[in-house]
Assembly symmetry: C2
Homo-oligomer: 150 residues x 2
Amino acid sequence: MEYALRDERALLEKYLRDRGLKMTRARETVLDAFLGLESHVSVEAVIEAARRLDPGVGQATVFRTVKLLVDAGLAREACHDDGSRLFEHAYNHAHHDHLTCTRCGAVVEFIDPDIERSQEAVYRRYGFRSSGHRLELYGVCPDCAAKDAE
Amino acid sequence: MEYALRDERALLEKYLRDRGLKMTRARETVLDAFLGLESHVSVEAVIEAARRLDPGVGQATVFRTVKLLVDAGLAREACHDDGSRLFEHAYNHAHHDHLTCTRCGAVVEFIDPDIERSQEAVYRRYGFRSSGHRLELYGVCPDCAAKDAE
DNA sequence: AGTCTATTGATAAGGGTTATCATTTACAGA
DNA sequence: TCTGTAAATGATAACCCTTATCAATAGACT
Ligand SMILES: [Zn+2]
Ligand SMILES: [Zn+2]
Ligand SMILES: [Zn+2]
Ligand SMILES: [Zn+2]
């Protein structure tokens, strides 16, 4: 965990140095805040976490830094829910799709090789070059279904 | 086509009557405007189309009515793009997924039985009851790829 | 330390959507 | 057809999330 944090910080530093940008205290704070949160967080949540580490961090800075993290490959936009976008860790967190419970909001991350393969076939069928996809399955999780049954 | 319009209007009227709502001129206008547009339209586009039929239609009314159309099963939210949501016809327009060119915005509607089947398997694997999904494939279409090659 | 430029945070502005509310309208019943 | 009542309308303001503006600050290099 400690090592992972260091890895990710080094990645961000390299990304910044490579393009003449600077590693600042605010960016450290936002990175730490983001890494300390679990998957699928809104910028709002990152703002709160960042201000727990350092009150006085501007929200504009958090928006800007999250965008940087995405560009640097440390974060990835997950499933922009209604309204606000959600982000998740991208470093050491391979591609996956989401199965979401529409009742309680529970999210299962899954990867299905058959689906991935079939998607490639669709790209070939229409002559498209692939550049990523988004698959969100919606349903009712076992827990919520059990509550219905009562 | 004429018949289809009548069908859809009858559907909306039934939907409204069943819950004590009223069929109004504004709702007729928005319905006609929406039906006159082709797939994947923003509310903005519906507002423009509606005002071509009847200037003075309030934008709030269009937003409200599009929501009604979705509830009535006449419209369906397609792929909420960056920012604004997009809607498409739902009546006599079976389920399908989207393959979108990230360069020119071209959209191919497709249905892949293998993918649909694999998705059902995912639902079973995690014990979820299915309630719909959203699959968006992104890539570069043949035309844009050809331009790249030049 | 000094210079130069990126970055910051407060604030305003932006775009899409929804809430408010006085007025108008649809529609069931008399 | 007339009326009463509740729903619907449209103008407007409010809302949320996000981005732009900008004077002040703080890295990174010499
Ligand atoms: Zn659930
Ligand atoms: Zn995820
Ligand atoms: Zn294209
Ligand atoms: Zn479509």
